[in-house]
Amino acid sequence: MDLLGFALRRIGTIVPTLFAVSVLIFLLQQLLPGDPALALAGDERTPEVIEQIRQRYGFDKPLPVQYANWIGKAVLGDLGESYRTRAPVTKLIASTLPVTMELAVLAMLLALVTGIPAGVIAAVRDRRAGGTLVNVISLSGLSVPHFWLGIMMILLFSVDLGWLPASGYVPPWEDLGRNLITLIMPAIVLGTRVAAVLMRHTRSAMLEILQSDYIRTAHAKGLPQWRVVTKHALRNALVPVITLATIEFGYLLSGAVLTEQIFSIPGMGKLIVDAVFNRDYAVVQGVVLIAATLYIMMNLVGDLLYFVVSPRMRA
């Protein structure tokens, strides 16, 4: 199968999933106890105000019509307006999404440059001790509540040592250096779990590959050890990492909610938490829809990359 055919077929499966996701997110509103207009009215619950809200947001129309209106606008980039500030939800997301993406990408990079080499070293060097060490580190990385890790890092590096700022995000176009300094702790905190997952995976994949025939052949040819490991073994061990990294990307989006809260970073995670407290349901729905769409797209990109680098898939 060629790449185009595979891509088209894969995109074909995305459409029904996106449709189902959007229906679920739309139906969230039905969970509100009682009349959503009543919930939105807050303290000014006069019949006129409620009627006005009902008409303004289309609550007086049947559900399928409400959904069709909502999704029709969403497809065109209109996710409604914040009930609180009346700002367009799309605009709120557009201003916060790049911040979250930068944080997620930094976290992923940190996880890649620490997790993969650690996994390789643990597989190549002393097998038993390496295995135990990797197990301990990766299980700890998976188990530590990373928002607590963030608080502890603030305690150490900001409060005690005074090396890094605990908050105060600066956009990269204003001051890139300052931007990276404020993001380094959040990125480490967010990347911990992914690093642990990558380390565990890389070690077990490397152990399996290092026992295969073609590695023995490479050794027999007299190639130096580092070349066998990096060129022959690691290359194949890394193929599934692509899928793993895209799956973990969903975790980064989830984790960013807490990380942004701890370090006061004005990203999409902080946007959704503030919206929850303000009962700004349009913003909540918008953020969830965008997060899900991003995650689905990342998985698509991951699958396509996997298809490109893995010759077996093309057979």
Binding site: T17, L32, L139, V159, A292
Partner: protein, 290 residues
């Protein structure tokens, strides 16, 4: 018939004993089990062992460091941190178990229905599960709590619903693979009703994969509850929960770091124990996957 049933039961018991022996050989998993048991005992015995009332404030004792009277110090309104930690174990452990019960309770019938009925019922259930899996776990939980309203109960429901699709997929997969097993075909051939087959032959064999997933999910659910409570979407103050203690602790990090340290240590210890226990359980139940 009675002969085969007796034979079946001996076989079942034997394989269960084998799994138990395999589990007991893994010392780290057994140790993790003991740690978990300890936390459960602490949670159950909270009224007996807690040194102070966890919600009684005392403005003479605001943010006092650890001392002989208050081993782990006091918090921002003079409550004993150790007492809150002990009582908070209840919220955290419940939040680990109840969402998993919700997910299991719904996923087993849904998985059986999906795997057995096939056709459009299967397609609808699977599309919805896929759609839920497309939204990152904690974001589903946050969105659900937003609409249900913040409380510990709603946080647990939200986490349970967020965990549901993984369980449904697993249950359905188990049903599909078990459906074509020889012994199930045989049971059908001798005229057993679908309900009896599901109950006697399929359900017991769905348990191992679901049990392992349940363990993983308990760990995830404890962290998720702590996260929601940390954000202020879970346990309502003044009732103690490890997540909400961390929230308060962060605000007084410079002046009273002990408020934030211990709840995190407790979460870490419980989740680590659950994960090690789960690893041991997986290896014992499914030695092929090691």
């Amino acid at each position: 018939m009675s002969v085969t049933t007796a034979g079946e039961e001996t076989l079942e018991r034997r394989s269960r004993n084998r799994a138990l022996r395999r589990f007991l050989r893994r010392r780290s998993a057994v140790a993790a089990g003991i740690v978990l048991l300890l936390f459960i005992v602490i949670a159950l015995a909270a009224p007996l062992i807690s040194p102070y009332n966890p919600i009684a404030t005392n403005f003479l004792l605001v943010r006092k460091p650890p001392s002989a009277l208050h081993w782990l110090g006091t918090d921002e309104v003079g409550r004993d941190v150790l007492a809150r930690l002990i009582w908070g174990a209840r919220a955290s452990l419940l939040a680990g178990v109840i969402p998993v019960c919700i997910a299991l309770g719904f996923s087993i019938p849904l998985g059986l229905l999906s795997g057995y009925a096939g056709g459009w019922i299967d397609s609808v259930i699977m599309r919805v599960a896929d759609a839920m899996l497309a939204i990152p776990f904690l974001i589903v939980a946050i969105a659900l709590t937003a609409f249900l309203g913040p409380s510990l109960g709603n946080a647990m429901i939200a986490i349970g619903i967020a965990a549901l699709p993984t369980f449904v997929r697993l249950a359905r997969g188990a049903v599909l693979s078990l459906k074509s097993e020889d012994y199930v075909e045989a049971a059908r051939a001798i005229g057993n009703s679908p309900f009896r087959i599901a109950w006697r032959h399929i359900l017991p064999n769905m348990v191992p994969p679901l049990l392992v997933q349940a363990c993983i999910t308990v760990a995830a659910a404890i962290i998720a509850e702590a996260s929601l409570s940390f954000l202020g979407l879970g346990q309502a103050p003044p009732a103690p929960s490890w997540g909400s203690m961390l929230n308060a602790g962060q605000r007084y990090l410079a002046a009273a770091p002990w408020i934030a340290i211990w709840p995190g240590v407790a979460i870490f210890a419980v989740v680590l124990a659950v994960n090690i226990f789960g690893d041991g359980l997986r290896d014992a139940l499914d030695p092929k996957r090691r």
